[in-house]
Subunit: 151 residues, 2 copies
Amino acid sequence: MLGADNEELSASLEDYLEAIFRLSCDGRQARSKAIAERLGVSRASVTGALRLLKKKGLANYKPYDGVTLTSAGHHAAAEVDRKHRILKSFFGQVLGVDPETARKAACRAEHTLGPSVIGRLLCFIEFVSRENAAGNDLVGKFQQFCNERAV
Amino acid sequence: MLGADNEELSASLEDYLEAIFRLSCDGRQARSKAIAERLGVSRASVTGALRLLKKKGLANYKPYDGVTLTSAGHHAAAEVDRKHRILKSFFGQVLGVDPETARKAACRAEHTLGPSVIGRLLCFIEFVSRENAAGNDLVGKFQQFCNERAV
DNA sequence: TGACAAAGTTAGGTGTGGCTAACTATAATG
DNA sequence: CATTATAGTTAGCCACACCTAACTTTGTCA
């Protein structure tokens, strides 16, 4: 592993990675200002994070030049994004939490859950939709159940 | 709100709170060494955390004397503990994740999920057990579903 | 009761992650 | 093309959360 600063990624760096990933979906470079706005953080903090991501080999960063992800960075970001989508979908579709709350909860939980739990969660979403297709409307029943106890 | 240092509790402080809560279940005071061991942290770190908890009005702490929780601290700790139990139960019982992985995931996620998601999760556990009692073995079906796709 | 071990604290250091204020580079435009 | 606005960086600060090493307090027991 030449020159790579391995270690686990902090939740904060994962957030930066994800922001860059999302902002550069259409191929363009992510602007520092946009990252700052998306994460609700100062531009100075972004500069610091970009330097770290570069040191870890996850981002191509040159001062006064845009940012893109290296392929390692892209991989890591895609994984965070995947977790995010699975969690949001679970909170929203299965548990029936309102979309904005689901999104925020996903943002926070995406850094804490490992592959085995995420894998099961994804599977569970599929299971629920499969049951639904087979005529067993679990989501509906659960909503009903919640309404009865006013949760 | 006299003298209270409000703000949100950090994940770390919640961990300390929870450890004290658990260690003083039987009414005794929590010893600093035991907290350090339970959290895998140095005794010095515990001292620092206890000072913070005291400042926030959550722990009764006097150097060289044991620690107990104030009623505010007890409330907060009980809430963290409740989240922990709900999450562990969901990961283990519903998703079928192995107990140790479920415990660890709960430890990490308990700081990130708010009341609405936790409430729904608790409700979901009840829903599943109710369905089971009514002859709809969702857990079994889901396990089967996972096995088929080797998750 | 006095010495020793264990528990606890203090002092001082590290890394992360954030901030503001002030500076510099780039871009846009009259 | 000079000026100005905006984007980005640097410098310097703070808080948190951890650590080790050294010191102090407490409790035990010969």
